[in-house]
């Protein structure tokens, strides 16, 4: 087992902002550079990839993950030799093919057939090779009927399917895949997955970049997690994925909090007469411990603090849990549970035990409100609390709100 890809302390910098790319700009710049020796451009540069090192053995399937701007695409471009690193070394052993932007080589005026030949040679195939594989490529893409029609008449899906099948028939030693498996309908995706497995069987190395957790989990044994151009974690898929989720959730949580503060400021201004204010909300688990993140099975306790300016008879307290994408996941009201608060006045506290809610991993917002006894008119609404549920180890996010405590049996 040799090494297919070797990255050794690779650095790559890019420029931010406009760059000079005309003679008109370059000439004054040269004079400026001669007269004053400092280069103001340096400050506009940033490192897109900072000291990244990893080895990938032949025949491995490795996933590269990371939030937007982590440097994934830069690394793929470095791998496919489109750009070169500023510092560091990289070695690639074998024929490399990239499933990135599979339709880049297409020309809209040429027919499907002509484009297959054109794209194939751009990717590095010989004309004779394409002659041999042409029928398989057309068959695989599912557009054989229209193969002699100019590509400009194709739908975008047909284009990408044709592009994908050309690239997939390269028989590379190393295959780079960047979010292209989402091309086409379910049956085409199944074909793609089948093709990838065939390549794997024949000993190809695959580097997969995706945000699709379940795809990564089902295909890759190893994941390299990137953040801001650095390797954050490199290891077995199950070990790395929680780190990734943590990273994504953190940024989601920050966004949400920002939104909350801006909207709550707005609310305060509108409501002149505040009869009741919910001044605090403490989230704890079953052991009355405050945590940053909770598990799906954790018991959730809330301690609400209120201040009532005047006496309110039989108020109804209501808790709504809303997922970051706006889905209302569950509600709990004092009235529904048969619990009646006779009246509130001045400062006071209310405890709620929501028990284990089995919520799926993600960021949830708590909306706490106080209503009159008939639930017609709210006195106060507070939504500035965030509940974060962490995935259990090995759990593949399904997007579901609840994960029931289920037990499966085979008869």
């Amino acid at each position: 087992m040799g090494i297919a890809i070797e990255f050794n302390d690779v650095w790559k910098k890019f420029r931010r902002g406009e760059k000079r790319n005309s003679l008109r700009d370059a000439v004054p710049y040269l004079f400026k550079k001669i007269s004053q020796k400092n280069d103001s451009l340096e400050s506009k540069e940033f490192w897109a990839v900072q000291g990244v090192s990893f080895d990938i053995a032949k025949g491995d399937v490795v996933g590269i993950m990371g939030p937007n701007g982590a440097g994934k695409s830069t690394i793929l471009k470095l791998l496919s030799q489109i750009i070169i690193p500023n510092k560091g070394e990289m070695k690639i052993n074998g024929k490399l093919s990239a499933l990135i932007e599979v339709t880049a080589g297409f020309h809209s005026d040429l027919t499907g057939r002509e484009n297959v030949y054109l794209n194939g040679t751009i990717l590095g195939m010989k004309k004779r090779e394409i002659d041999k594989k042409f029928d398989a490529i057309a068959e695989f893409s599912g557009v054989s009927e229209f193969i002699d029609t100019p590509v400009k008449r194709y739908s975008s899906g047909m284009c990408s399917r044709l592009g994908f099948s050309v690239a997939a028939h390269m028989d590379p030693d190393i295959l780079l895949v960047d979010e292209v498996l989402s091309v086409g309908d379910i049956s085409f995706q199944a074909k793609c997955a089948q093709k990838m497995r065939e390549l794997l069987k024949s000993g190809s190395t695959i580097v997969l970049v995706s945000h699709h957790l379940s795809l990564i989990q089902s295909l890759c044994k190893r994941v390299i997690l990137l953040n801001r151009g650095e390797v954050l974690k490199d290891g077995l898929t199950d070990e790395v994925i929680p780190y990734y989720e943590n990273l994504v959730f953190k940024s989601q949580e920050e966004d949400l909090k920002k939104k909350i503060t801006s909207s709550s400021n707005y609310k305060v201004r509108v409501k002149a007469d505040i009869a009741v204010e919910i001044s605090g909300c403490q989230i704890t688990d079953g052991q009355k411990k405050q945590k940053n993140t909770y598990h799906s099975l954790d018991e959730i306790n809330l301690k609400l603090e209120y201040t009532a300016q005047k006496k309110i008879d039989q108020p109804v307290f209501c808790i709504e849990i809303i997922r970051a994408d706006g889905v209302l996941c569950c509600t709990s009201r004092t009235k529904d549970t048969g619990f009646v608060i006779p009246y509130i006045e001045g400062k006071g506290r209310i405890d709620v035990n929501l028990r284990a809610m089995n919520l799926g991993p993600g960021i949830y917002m708590l909306k706490i409100s106080v209503w009159d006894k008939d639930l017609i008119h709210p006195f106060a609404v507070r939504h500035s609390d965030v509940l974060r549920i962490e995935a259990e180890r090995g759990y593949i996010d399904s997007g579901a709100v609840f994960i029931p405590q289920s037990q499966w049996n085979q008869e």
Binding site: L23, A26, A104, G105, H107, D109, L123
Partner: protein
């Protein structure tokens, strides 16, 4: 250097496909089809005839067939040079989706557009040969020099095209400068007239390698004379130098294409 040429050889199928693409697209889009190849030379010859007529009126000498023929013979290589440079200058920027996304030796992009123009040139040569036979211009042993001269012309064109294509990627306004030079270059090159007609300024016209190549073509095809070996050697030297310079500079800059496009 050897490595670069090997790479081009390895990707020769791609070079062929891209050339085919350029030709196909040009002939598909133009209603005139293959007339395209002779359209521009025809217009150029017509304007050359007008100038020649004006010159003959001024000098009092009548217009002879040889001078008419020599205009057509020199216009063809000139239009090949102009269109090849024009197309190749923008090949890198025009194919930015390929340059930023797929790896292959970029040099095939300008080369293929030059080859596509060479194809047009070939068709135009065929048409002209028929005309020359009809005009009974005759043939001599010196015609054997023609392949050598044409080869040097292609070498010079390729070198300049490759060089300008890479410069245009970094400095986008180079394209416009090149266009202006090509537009008026026809007056600074002995296309419509002979280099000798400007007297002692002749040397400036021949210092332009295209000028001395055109003169050589005229001599071997129309005048049935030996080419001026001194100037031909000079042009050959220039062509080889510019070709290798173009390829080497292009190759040096190639890694920076994708991020500067």
């Amino acid at each position: 250097m050897k490595q670069i040429l090997e790479q081009i050889l390895k990707y020769r199928d791609l070079l062929f496909m891209l050339t085919l693409r350029d030709i196909k697209i040009r002939y598909k889009q133009a209603v005139m089809g293959f007339l395209w190849a002779i359209f521009m030379p025809m217009v150029a010859v017509a304007s050359g005839l007008l100038i020649k007529k004006a010159m003959s009126v001024v000098s009092g000498k009548p217009m002879d067939l040889a001078s008419v023929v020599s205009i057509s013979v020199k216009v063809l290589p000139w239009t090949f040079f102009v269109s090849a440079i024009k197309f190749s200058v923008q090949t890198l920027v025009g194919n930015s989706n390929l340059v930023t996304k797929i790896y292959f030796p970029r040099v095939v992009l300008p080369l293929s557009s030059i080859l596509a123009c060479l194809f047009d040139f070939g068709i135009a040569i065929l048409v002209l040969s028929v005309l020359l036979i009809i005009a009974k211009i005759g043939i001599s042993v010196y015609i054997l020099w023609l392949p050598i001269v044409l080869f040097l012309l292609v070498l010079f064109t390729a070198g300049t095209g490759i060089l300008l294509a890479s410069i245009n990627l970094f400095l986008r306004d180079v394209k416009y400068i090149v266009e202006v030079i090509l537009m008026f270059g026809i007056f600074f090159t002995p296309v419509f007239y002979d280099a000798s007609s400007v007297g002692e300024w002749k040397i400036f016209l021949l210092l332009n390698p295209i000028g001395s190549l055109l003169e050589s073509i005229n001599r071997v095809v129309v005048l049935h004379q030996m080419p001026d070996l001194f100037w031909l050697t000079y042009a050959g030297f220039c062509s080889v130098v510019i070709f290798f310079l173009g390829i080497i500079i292009f190759h040096r800059q190639e890694p920076y294409f994708a991020e500067n496009i």
